[in-house]
């Protein structure tokens, strides 16, 4: 057996930068939400109008949204630029097409891979069907949806491209979808971290940090 393909440097670097920017986006997103923990549907919504969801969060009006917004947009820029570099490199090297884009059989076989497995054997030569579906959803669906709904809340951006917000049903709808997709990303993160922890934490972490993955039996 041969040694497993290492994660490419560009994958490892963009992974960790975006992990940090996602953490910052999450913390600052909650800080912003505390200033008005209610969600609406349509163009408008405020205290005194019916809400779609009242979130079980405290209402904090003592200026947490100022730094929250600044940190949110700074980390959003990092996330978008670094994510863009990852996608560009992945398209160029064929990594996205080869390793991420799910094939029809993945849908059937994904369930068999949800149980964590220790590294080793031919299975680890590529992402398994469950990984492919999850990573593809994050890269091609959830992050683009976050960027879209984020931009749809901007009064300057929607002056340039009104379609971004009108197609979603309004500015408050965009805010609500932004929150829902953020929840989906948090669920992914929880599953991702759990799978890493249960399938050989040290080997997996070493693989994503140094690029060196599990060695094949006999050479270790």
């Amino acid at each position: 057996m041969r040694a497993l393909e290492p994660h490419a440097a560009v994958v490892r670097i963009t992974h960790w930068i975006n992990a940090a920017s996602f953490a910052a986006l999450l913390v600052s997103g909650v800080a912003i939400l505390l200033a008005h923990p209610r969600l609406y549907w349509g163009e408008t919504g405020a205290f005194g109008t019916p809400s779609l969801i009242d979130l079980p969060l405290p209402l904090v009006l003592t200026g947490q949204s100022g730094w929250g917004r600044s940190l949110h947009f700074l980390s959003a820029w990092v996330c978008v630029l670094v994510g863009g570099a990852y996608v560009a490199a992945g398209l160029r090297s064929g990594h996205l097409r080869r390793d991420l884009v799910p094939v029809a059989a993945d849908l059937r076989r994904a369930a068999g891979h949800v149980r964590p497995r220790r590294p080793g054997g031919d299975d680890d030569l590529a992402y398994n069907p469950a990984q492919r579906l999850a990573y593809f959803a994050v890269v091609a669906v959830l992050f683009p949806a976050m960027i879209w709904t984020g931009l749809a809340m901007s009064p300057a951006v929607t002056a340039v491209v009104p379609f971004l917000v009108t197609v979603l049903g309004g500015q408050q709808s965009a805010r609500t979808i932004h929150f829902a997709v953020a929840c989906a990303l948090v669920l992914f993160l929880a599953g991702h971290v759990a799978m890493v922890a249960l399938s050989g934490f040290r080997v997996r972490m070493r693989g994503m940090i140094t690029g060196r993955r599990a060695m094949s039996p006999g050479r270790a």
């Binding site: 939400l33 163009e43 405020a46 205290f47 109008t49 600044s70 700074l74 009064p155 300057a156």
Partner: protein, 250 residues
């Protein structure tokens, strides 16, 4: 192992990157793409956002406008009108003695009474206004385009910003892209009535492509300037000290 060639390539790439950044910074400063609160922890984010938005809106697109049927029944306000004696006295007399001062880099420093503003050509729009907290409403605003007021005072070609002084502490400023934008109004009417005190009487600026806090209430003076560095603490707005961005188009 790092070969000499690789070291050289890496060094050249780093040098090219650094000089590219320096060039970008110089160009950004020259074309007015650097916000006054570009320093500090979040300055890079503020600058990229502001520069990107200004490049995207070079053609001065209008913010979305709505039908009369979409006007919100509820239009909340944050905080009440100023409690200062000056303001309360003017309010009791229905702003008969109030005047909007226009000074700084203008050929003819001027002042306008409420009646004088109301006799100038009027414009209305029904627009969406979002608070940075997250809530929003749609209302109809009526007033005079700020560009008309600046033209009457003879705005100097050297001016790059308009500083907005209200009766409370929330002084602010906007760049010329927003000051001269056709939807930027000095409003005295809201939803077909006089502007209510809580919404900023006697006049409130409406900046349609930014969040609500840039639509400064209770206006008393406008000052045209070339740079914001010598105004207040140099950060462009009183709210910056409390962590709020000078540019709020997002």
């Amino acid at each position: 192992m790092i070969s000499r060639r690789r070291l050289l390539t890496a060094g050249l790439t780093a040098a090219a990157g650094a000089s590219g950044l320096a060039m970008a910074a110089r160009l950004a400063a020259r074309y007015g793409l650097v916000p006054p609160d570009h320093g500090g922890l979040y300055g890079a984010g503020e600058t990229i956002t502001y520069a990107a938005h200004r490049l995207l809106t070079l053609h001065q697109p209008l913010a979305r406008e709505f039908d009369r049927s979409q006007i919100s029944r509820v239009a909340p306000v944050n905080g009440g009108p100023p409690e200062s004696d000056d303001y309360q006295r003017l309010l009791r007399r229905n702003f008969a003695e109030w005047r909007l001062e226009v000074d700084g880099l203008v050929a003819r420093p001027s002042s306008f009474s409420l009646d004088e503003l109301k006799r100038m050509p009027q414009r209305s729009h029904i627009t969406h206004q979002a608070c940075e907290e997250g809530w929003s409403f749609i209302a109809e605003w009526t007033g005079v385009p700020l560009s008309d007021i600046l033209a009457r005072a003879g705005l100097s070609p050297r001016a790059k910003y308009v500083v907005l002084y209200p009766f409370d502490d929330f002084w602010d400023s906007i760049d010329l892209a927003d000051a001269l934008h056709p939807q930027t109004l000095v409003t005295y009417g809201m939803n077909g009535r006089e502007l209510p005190a809580g919404h900023g009487a006697p006049v409130r600026l409406r900046v349609t492509r930014q969040l609500g806090y840039k639509s400064v209430k209770y206006l008393s003076r406008l000052t045209a300037v070339e740079t914001l560095a010598d105004v207040g603490d140099g950060q462009g707005a009183g709210a910056v000290a409390y962590g709020y961005s000078w540019y709020a188009g997002i």
